[in-house]
Symmetry: C2
Subunit: 294 residues, 2 copies
């Protein structure tokens, strides 16, 4: 095969990747070639634009380290992460809606007992988070593992300035208690711009877009025989709920933070200043109902 | 805007990038979102496959340094580079056909006088390269700048093992002489696998493809009022002419290497062993005919 023109080169590349022995690799590779070529054929990049594209992808990869995942930011800001999320959660009726993982999840979050304070002395308005984990059929899931993480009073995650914070903070792993219930103390999360000092930030600027996300708490919840739930709970009233830079907001995930006076809190502890209360009941999809569940 | 499903998230992302003030950024961004989402919608990646995609792109970026451009290899092996090349060389009748730049071009190649030997003492079969540079209307282009680079007897480029080679070799920049003619001495290039110890090599293996390119000499030729010509001359008879890993071969770019006996060579020098001769007449497109020329 030789002498390809702008049309036959696509057929040639498709024929070449069809040699893949694994059917899924074959399917993905062939679709990748077709869609990538269709994109190039539509925009007809000049050689200089192609070079800029190569440089953009290179810088995006080189911006990544153990604390920064620029390609996830790219996927998030182009709406790809939410599309993948939606495709993978069809027909999960009765379950809590999902949203993106985001780039700040840390697999090694410290385990903490129910009721723990995870703010490690950071400044901010006190927040009591309570709720429950159940199966979408209503059965409580005591023992469910609940990973939580969120931004601080300045809108940063611990991993964005670990040295300053002195270690992981505003993240922990809990185990749901009796009745699937959980509670913990932290500080109010704040809206924040996604990291925008790299290639993705420059892309957003070129596209006339802001990098902000509305305030939220991340939850990743796992229980036996249930599909892992990855979601956020968003803070009602946030200015960015309708323009989240990563398209992640769902109405069902928004909750008011209830302002409460100093005194005895719902978990029985006594607090000496006013605080907020966030309540959410999560429902997980049983595995037999999950589409293509692993 | 909130509560996107797997269809409305595409509209939302398109609407967002349409805010780009620059019309070309707007056009490219919108097409990127549409084609990327169409790809995702077709292959329906699982969350794990999406993660693998993120990791693949990240590793590809991190494989890049000043001697290695893994994203160019990816573009080349998916047929994208040749597609971009074809789109940018429509209607260049009478001009030498183009092919890809490849990842081994070095901007700072040493200037050399016509007739120079550029093999820096490397082992290999001697090769005399002669030819001419003209406009596609036939007018000779004396003074044209000719960048050449090619692989060594083991199939490597200098930049792949600079320490061993002791500096740049098998590359130089010449200036065409009277009648647009040029000539230089080097060694026969060899077929070689594109660097395949990185993500792109693993992709090729998963796709059941070999990484080989047929033997060739790269040429980049510039002359005033003419479009820059980026091409190769391929060695006739090579085993990989019909399965070039990057889809770069064109019939019009293949030449026989003529075996010649020791004695007085066409350039007047005396050689004490048999050698090969490669001859090619290049024709450049005048700028007024070039489509969207810079």
């Amino acid at each position: 095969m030789r002498d390809f023109d702008e049309f036959t080169v696509t057929e040639a590349a498709v024929a070449r990747v069809r040699q893949a022995p694994d059917p899924r690799v074959r399917e993905i590779s062939e679709a990748l070639v077709r869609h990538l070529h269709a994109f190039v054929r539509e925009v007809e990049p000049s050689f200089e634009e192609w070079q800029q594209g190569i440089e953009f992808l290179t810088r995006t990869g080189q911006m990544c380290d153990d604390k920064r995942q620029e390609f996830i930011l790219l996927s998030d800001t182009l709406g790809v992460s939410m599309l993948v999320d939606a495709i993978n959660h069809r027909g999960a009726e009765g379950a809590t809606e999902t949203t993106i993982l985001g780039p700040f999840y840390v697999d090694a979050a410290p385990e903490a007992p129910l009721g723990a304070k995870i703010s490690a002395g950071m400044a901010g308005e006190p927040l009591l988070v309570t709720g429950s984990i159940a199966s979408s059929d209503g059965r409580p899931l005591a023992g469910a593992v609940i990973d939580v993480w969120h931004s601080d009073d300045d809108g940063y995650y611990d991993v964005q300035h670990l040295e300053e914070v002195g270690g992981l903070a505003l993240r922990a792993r809990f185990r749901a208690g009796e009745g699937g219930r959980f509670h913990f103390w932290t500080i109010k999360p704040k809206a924040y711009p996604i990291p925008h000092d790299g290639p993705v930030g420059r892309m957003l600027a070129a596209q006339g877009r802001h990098p902000w996300r509305p305030a939220h708490v991340h939850f990743m919840i796992e229980a036996p025989q249930h599909r892992k739930l990855v979601t956020h709970v968003f803070v009602a009233g946030d200015a960015y709920l309708d323009s989240d830079a990563v398209f992640g907001v769902k109405e069902s995930l928004i909750r008011e933070l209830e302002p409460l006076p100093a005194g005895v809190a719902p978990d029985g502890t006594t607090v000496d200043r006013p605080y907020f209360h966030l309540y959410y009941d999560f429902a997980l999809t049983p595995e037999r109902e999950a589409r293509g569940a692993a």
